[in-house]
């Protein structure tokens, strides 16, 4: 069973993602911002992180930059999941270290395809 960390400040989105990911047989943990996500990663590194962009305390882009700079040997895959659907934001996310990008709104099937593309589903 693969481990996924959901990082999103919306409890509703986290609930949708958890349901979706659990049907794909992921063990799911949650964080509501980048700072909490760092703590979850320090406890144990997930296989994949599904990451929102805009969050209080620490944004998704700040988090992924820190994660990639951390030099962990077991770097997780990072799938951004954001309402920022323009090319500039997408390029910024990729340059910061994201492996995939899901534009909101999306459905379960799209998320599954993206997780397959990064090799965790």
């Amino acid at each position: 069973m693969k481990n996924c960390l959901i990082v999103d400040d919306s409890s509703m989105i986290r609930k949708f993602l958890r349901t979706s990911l659990e049907t794909l047989d992921f063990a799911v943990r949650e964080a509501s911002n980048g700072q909490e996500a760092i703590a979850r990663c320090e406890e144990s590194m997930p296989d994949v992180i599904v990451l929102d962009w805009h969050m209080p305390v620490m944004t998704g882009i700040e988090f992924v930059k820190l994660l990639r700079q951390g030099g962990h040997a077991d770097q997780p895959k990072v799938v951004f999941c954001s309402t920022e659907n323009d090319l500039e934001h997408i390029r910024t996310a990729i340059e910061a270290g994201a492996d995939e990008y899901v534009m909101k709104p999306f459905d379960h099937e799209t998320l599954h395809m993206k997780l397959q593309l990064v090799g965790v589903a």
Partner: protein, 284 residues
């Protein structure tokens, strides 16, 4: 939303006559959704009344609304990997002198399969330099072909099956959506065509993809479709069917490939018969 038995019969006859497709009971549940656009357009909320009216005056539009245009980029990705890693290298060797490849995507819907094929070639530019690659997409739906020609997709459509790296590389952001770059568009063309009609152009396709099309036909219609497909494939060409589709027990002219699961080829009998016909490549 329920429809009457009469409406079901009208839709079934209409779909059959316009497209050759069956209208099984498991498609009835989505009639309300499928006809919602026409319902708004004509200001008729009652489906039975809408069907009765449009069956006389807007037959094509009514049939098209019932079609399932589900598609996405690199659908069944393993099959594209098979094409990329096994079929295309073999064709590159076999067609090295002609340096020409023709591919037909039957039931291409809104074009994602055709553009996925184009990306396979575009991403190996050096291998295919100097080759003429012609990728034809056809569909029975005029609306789908119009959308395929526009090659412009909503955020929801563009990210289904397509890696973000490919999206950024091969599509440009426009006010209308994510539009395929000219480099891809130049490799592809689209025509409205019903598989059951005579071929839209000369046969001899090196690869024919007909995925998730045959499942909508009854046995007799499927046999006719296989006849059309066998006439379209080059004697040493390939046919790719959908995951749940097979040539076994359907036709004597096409058989599963012995080693590449999911791919089919002309039977030795059909291939020999085709070799005896005017050899396209020698003449062309």
């Amino acid at each position: 939303m329920q429809i009457s038995e009469t409406s079901k019969q009208i839709l079934a006859e209409l779909l059959k006559s316009q497209t050759g497709q069956d209208f099984p009971t498991n498609r009835i549940w989505r009639v309300g959704t499928a006809l919602s656009g026409l319902s708004r357009e004509h200001g008729i909320a009652n489906l039975d009344r809408l069907i009765a009216k449009l069956a006389l005056s807007h037959r094509s539009a009514l049939a098209e609304a019932l079609l399932n245009n589900e598609t996405y980029f690199f659908r069944d990705r393993a099959m594209f990997e098979l094409l990329d890693e096994r079929v295309l290298p073999e064709l590159a060797r076999e067609r090295a002198s002609a340096r020409s490849l023709r591919i037909w995507s039957v039931g291409c819907s809104t074009g994602q399969e055709v553009l996925s094929l184009a990306m396979l070639f575009a991403e190996q530019e050096s291998r295919w330099a100097g080759w003429k690659v012609d990728i034809l997409g056809t569909d029975v739906s005029s609306a789908a072909i119009e959308a395929a020609r526009a090659a412009c997709y909503t955020p929801f459509q563009i990210q289904r099956g397509l890696a973000v790296g490919q999206m950024v590389k091969w599509f440009e952001e426009t006010p209308q959506g994510w539009r395929a770059q000219d480099k891809l568009r130049r490799m592809v063309r689209f025509e409205r065509h019903n598989l059951l009609d005579p071929l839209p152009c000369q046969g001899g396709f090196d690869i024919v993809l007909c995925r998730n099309v045959l499942l909508y036909f009854d046995d007799a219609t499927r046999k006719c479709a296989f006849e059309r497909l066998s006439a379209a494939i080059a004697p040493d060409g390939w046919l790719m069917l959908g995951a749940g589709e097979t040539s076994i027990g359907q036709t004597g002219r096409i058989v599963p490939d012995r080693t590449l699961r999911g791919l089919h080829r002309l039977s030795s009998f059909a291939a020999a018969q085709r070799q005896d016909e005017a050899p396209r490549r020698a003449a062309g």
